[in-house]
Structure formats: structure tokens, C-alpha cells
């Protein structure tokens, strides 16, 4: 499982942006379908986007904790560019941690309109 790895790889690196992409798609597709077919009430859509946002943030948080471990808890400063397995691991861990932060912010920004917008117009 991607979220319980001893060593990082490109797949663990891609997990947080993939979660962001899926959350983004879900929000837009769900809003488009609801506005096209059931525009009377947006409460159900809001709830669904809220749940999806919490799920996405939880996965990103777990990925972030794992990345923090892979990075060696910040024991060593970037740029992690020595040709050693340890530096490779720290580099991937640090890059994943930064992507986790970016993805978490993006997921929140993507969900914000659903909280505030009052109607489909």
C-alpha cells in the first residue's frame, strides 16, 4: 500500500497531487451534474464536497506524515543532492512533503466555492 512504505518512490511522490486532481474533478463534475439536473437545492452537493474534502485532506495528511518520516524528520537540510541512497530517500521525502502542502492548500481552495456560492448561476 502506497501509504505504508518503508522507502519513498515516484508513486508515493505522486499520491498527494493525484488526490488533489481527483478531488478537483469530483467537485467540478458533481457541481455540473447537480446544477444541470437538480439546481433547486445545493445542500446535498455541499455535504458531498465537504466529505470528499475531508477524505482528501486525511489521505494527504497520512502521505505527509509518511513523507516527513522518509525525509528523516528534517535531520538534514536540502538540497539532498549527494549520489547516495540516503540522500535519494531524503530528496523524495522532502519533495513529497512540499507537494502535500501544495495539494492540501489546493484542495481547500477548490472546495471553498462550494461553501460560499448560494446558487448555480
Amino acid at each position: 500500500m502506497l501509504l505504508r512504505r518503508e522507502t519513498p518512490n515516484l508513486w508515493t511522490l505522486l499520491t498527494p497531487p493525484a488526490v488533489w486532481a481527483l478531488h478537483f474533478l469530483f467537485c467540478y463534475v458533481a457541481a455540473a451534474i447537480v446544477c444541470a439536473r437538480y439546481p433547486a437545492s445545493l445542500d446535498g452537493l455541499r455535504l458531498a464536497i465537504g466529505l470528499a474534502t475531508m477524505a482528501a485532506l486525511a489521505i494527504i495528511a497520512i502521505a505527509g506524515r509518511q513523507a516527513h518520516r522518509h525525509w528523516g524528520f528534517g535531520s538534514d537540510l536540502p538540497p539532498h543532492d549527494a549520489p547516495t541512497p540516503e540522500d535519494q530517500q531524503h530528496f523524495l521525502g522532502f519533495a513529497t512533503l512540499l507537494l502535500c502542502a501544495l495539494s492540501a492548500v489546493a484542495v481547500l481552495f477548490g472546495a471553498l466555492p462550494a461553501l460560499i456560492i448560494a446558487e448555480c448561476r
Partner: protein, 321 residues
């Protein structure tokens, strides 16, 4: 150089007011946008000062390099955390504006359709009756008006900077904009999406009136044209040359719907969709040289008509109050 320096602030300031300025708002949405603009400008100035200050500090004051940890912390806070918080605040503020701007039931509905290169304007009263007009928009002050936008040919965009933001007019799609005009006056709307050769000549005056005056005007606009029966203003030349094939003048045999409704042409402020002042000389010129004055327009030039006939048509148009 000194002259240029003293002129520059004037050049910037004169762009801030006038009939077509988002910075001189006369409607609720434009006020919100102007407030947002000034707030963002102040914020941007603060950030600019902080960045330049940091550069001066790094270059002039602190000559020793700072440590790796301090550098990383600076990148984390100044490069990631603060920009994210600023963007989040702006996003939340911007989104908060949207439902306020779009909601609300309007007592007046106006259908505006973009055509190359003019505006078909239809007022719809609460009882459903429709009043055809063109190339000018009149609205009551202090009351919301729903503007229903679509297009007959290509994509246009409806923008009255003094009242609200722009909204596209897309063929086959209906867009809705609610305007809340607050200040009485005359403003200018434009087409804000390139739509062809005469795109820049596709504008319209917007007149915001006190509500009672607006109702009186709408009642006059709904009535057929009142033409004084004199020999110089009869419909003869107008109808004989086929003007009625494209233009309607309610109360006469002219009932075309291809071009703008001319029923109360003489009471409008401009001619040719915001191109010229509505004077007798300009009316004559437009009939004679429409294709030259407004490239790509569908109306042919009637310059081949005898001068007396052109005069008669211009006089007739001038009588359509």
C-alpha cells in the same frame, strides 16, 4: 521631461472618472469591484515595499550571508505561508461577493441581444408585455434590473464599467446579469469581446433615471411613433426605398426586424450604436454612407439616392420622437 513628469499624474487621474470607468462606480457591483481594486492596490503596494525593503536590507545593511536554517525559514514564511494566506483571504473575499451580486429578484427585465454591430434591446414589464428598442439602455435608479443576454451571431460581451462587471453574450446560451444602478446619470456601455471589423463601434449610452421618470419614459417608448403630419416628414421616401424591410417603426407599415427598431430614434442620444451624436446631419450621413462609416455593417449605403430623398429620410428619422 519636466512637462512629461507633470502631465503623467494627470493622465492617470483623468482615466479614473467619466462615463466609462470602473473606478467611478455608479452601481452596486461596480462599487464592490472598485473597493476590491483599491484594496488590492494598497496590498500590492505594501508587498512591493516589503520586497524592495528586503532587497535593500540584503544589499546595503546586512552584508554577511544568513545561515541555511534562517534562509529556509525565510523561504517557508515569505515564499509559501504568507502568499497562501493572502491568496486565501482574497479568494474568500472574492467568492463572498458573488452570491450578493447575483441574487435578488428584479422588478424589471431587459433582454439585450448582441448583433454585428448593434444591440437589440427589449424591455419586459412585470405583466409580460415587451417593448422593442435598440442601442440605448435606460434603467431606474435604486432598483435592480435583470439583464438577459444572448447573441444572434458571434460572441459579444456586455460591459457597462460604471455599473458592473462584463458578461459574455454567447449564441445559443442565455446569460443573466443583475444591475443595481445607484447614481442618476449617463454612462457608456461597450462590447468587450472582439466581434468583427466594427467591434470598436459597438457601444451604447446607458441612462439611469429617477424611477418615476423611467416609468414615464417607458410608457412613451411603448407607444407608437408620433409623427407630425407635415409634407417634409411623411413616411414616403422611407418606405419607398425599402427601409421598412429591415427596420420597424411602430405605427407605420415599416415592420422589419433585421435591423434596429427606429420607433423613437430621434429621442436616443446616439446614432449607429454609440458612434455619433444623434444630429440631423449625422442621420443623413449614416443613411448615405453606412458601409464606409461602419465597416462590415449589414446596412447598405444609400448614397445613390437623390439628395432630396436623403433629406426627406433624414427629416423623417428626426421626427421619430
Amino acid at each position: 521631461m519636466r512637462v512629461a513628469g507633470s502631465l503623467a499624474p494627470g493622465v492617470f487621474l483623468c482615466a479614473c472618472s467619466g462615463p466609462q470607468s470602473a473606478l467611478d462606480p455608479a452601481g452596486r457591483e461596480a462599487s464592490e469591484v472598485a473597493t476590491l481594486f483599491w484594496g488590492m492596490l494598497a496590498g500590492a503596494a505594501l508587498i512591493w515595499l516589503a520586497v524592495i525593503g528586503a532587497a535593500v536590507f540584503a544589499g546595503r545593511v546586512q552584508k554577511e550571508p544568513i545561515g541555511d536554517r534562517a534562509g529556509l525559514r525565510l523561504i517557508l514564511w515569505a515564499g509559501a505561508v504568507i502568499p497562501t494566506l493572502v491568496l486565501a483571504a482574497l479568494l474568500a473575499y472574492g467568492l463572498r461577493l458573488m452570491p450578493v451580486l447575483r441574487a435578488g429578484e428584479a422588478s424589471l427585465r431587459v433582454h439585450v441581444s448582441g448583433e454585428q454591430y448593434w444591440w437589440r434591446v427589449t424591455y419586459e414589464r412585470a405583466d409580460g408585455t415587451r417593448i422593442e428598442s435598440a442601442n440605448e439602455l435606460r434603467l431606474p435608479a435604486g432598483r435592480p434590473a435583470e439583464i438577459v443576454l444572448d447573441s444572434a451571431d458571434v460572441i459579444h460581451s456586455f460591459w457597462i464599467p460604471a455599473l458592473a462587471g462584463k458578461l459574455d453574450m454567447i449564441p445559443g446560451r442565455t446569460n443573466r446579469l443583475v444591475l443595481h444602478p445607484e447614481r442618476i446619470g449617463t454612462y457608456r456601455g461597450v462590447c468587450a469581446e472582439f466581434c468583427g471589423r466594427s467591434h470598436a463601434y459597438m457601444a451604447f449610452p446607458v441612462v439611469v433615471l429617477p424611477p418615476q421618470e423611467f416609468e414615464a419614459w417607458l410608457a412613451r417608448e411603448a407607444a407608437p411613433a408620433e409623427v407630425p403630419a407635415t409634407s417634409t416628414t411623411d413616411t414616403g421616401a422611407f418606405l419607398a426605398n425599402g427601409c421598412g424591410g429591415c427596420h420597424a417603426v411602430r405605427g407605420t407599415a415599416a415592420s422589419g426586424t433585421i435591423g434596429p427598431d427606429l420607433t423613437h430614434l430621434a429621442s436616443r442620444l446616439t446614432l449607429g450604436a454609440g458612434m455619433f451624436a444623434n444630429t440631423s446631419e449625422n442621420r443623413r450621413r449614416f443613411v448615405a454612407e453606412a458601409e464606409t462609416l461602419k465597416p462590415g455593417v449589414r446596412m447598405p449605403s444609400f448614397g445613390a439616392l437623390a439628395p432630396a430623398e436623403l433629406d426627406a429620410i433624414a427629416a423623417y428619422l428626426g421626427s421619430l420622437r
